[in-house]
């Protein structure tokens, strides 16, 4: 029962952070919540006994992709008026 509840919480975490990533107006927060969704997914993979996939998801999904998004946001944002 506890395991079921933990799994439910993890899946809810994925869905909530994915919805936040779509709904948030601020692009930086959206990128970070998308990374959070990946992180919850990675924990779910560990719980499902798939550590290989979990490592890929954590390193690429929540690590590198988030940073590439942040770099892209910085490059495309308007330059500050000075």
């Amino acid at each position: 029962m506890t395991l079921f509840l933990i799994g439910l919480a993890l899946c809810a975490g994925i869905i909530v952070s994915a919805l936040l990533a779509v709904q948030l107006g601020n692009t930086v927060s959206a990128a970070i919540t998308a990374g959070m969704a990946s992180l919850f997914a990675a924990i779910t993979y560990v719980a499902l006994a798939a550590p290989d996939v979990a490592m890929t998801e954590a390193a690429i999904g929540s690590g590198l992709t988030t940073v590439i998004f942040l770099y892209a946001i910085r490059r495309t944002a308007e330059p500050p008026q000075e």
Binding site: P51, D52, A54, M55, T56, A59, I60, G63, L64, V67, I68, Y71, A72, R75
Partner: protein, 229 residues
């Protein structure tokens, strides 16, 4: 209005498709025949303790070569799109703020540890979870930390390109060696299988995963550096 209705309709249809999948789901009690063959024959035939690696590197090695090729093409595409243009003088780069003492010290301390962890993950791919892609991503995240902490840092392009192309080439060479001296392309058994569970075992698997790890790591690092400036 129509757009909204289409979105809602496609969402409902998608939900129906998944509902049917979920409704008809019953957990498997036994492995299917192919999986059973991999699980029973993998450790004996190939000497790999990690079945996932045995499947990825040997049984489905050609698919992994394809994945590496896809990654290479996308990295080349990013490089082509973001190639450095000569900037006009008026948009001269703003000088980035130097990072703080804390961040600099942490990077000097952590960077070697991150690289060692990445190398550990891909060299032990045939024994423990993880492998070339994961290890390569960890290497690239080390490079990312370096680039975040020191905006002036530049990778040695010649070294990165040399590492990337030689590891890709070496991967194919190992595959061809398997074709010539063992059962087929990317067969790992042309080197001795060694003792099950030791670092130098499972034939060419550690070599293949080290090459994949280096290739993935250098490719992702090159993409990160292109994104930075």
């Amino acid at each position: 209005m129509i757009k909204r209705a289409t979105v809602l309709l496609s969402l409902v249809l998608l939900g129906l498709v998944f509902l049917q999948l979920v409704a008809g789901y019953s957990p498997r009690t036994a492995l299917n025949p192919v999986a059973e063959h991999y699980v029973t024959a993998g450790p004996e035939e190939l000497g790999a303790a990690n079945i996932v690696t045995a499947v990825l590197v040997t049984y489905r090695g050609l698919d992994t070569l394809g994945e590496v090729a896809v990654l290479f093409i996308s990295a080349a595409g990013v490089g082509l799109l973001l190639r450095r243009k000569t900037r006009p003088a008026d948009t001269a780069r703003r000088k980035p703020r130097p990072s703080s003492e804390l961040v600099g010290t942490a990077v000097r301390f952590l960077l070697p540890l991150i690289f060692v962890l990445g190398a550990y993950i891909f060299i032990n791919g045939h024994l423990t979870p993880g492998g070339g892609f994961q290890g390569g991503a960890v290497l690239a995240s080390g490079i990312m930390l370096l680039l975040l902490a020191d905006p002036h840092a530049h990778l040695n392009h010649r070294l990165v390109h040399w590492l990337e192309s030689s590891s890709g080439f070496g991967y194919v060479v190992v595959g061809v060696l398997g074709l010539v001296f063992a059962g087929g392309f990317l067969d790992n058994r042309f080197l001795g299988l060694g003792t099950f569970g030791e670092l130098f075992s499972a034939g060419a698997m550690p070599i293949i995963y080290a090459l994949i790890g280096l290739k993935v790591g250098t490719e992702l690092s090159a993409v990160l550096e292109r994104m930075k400036d």
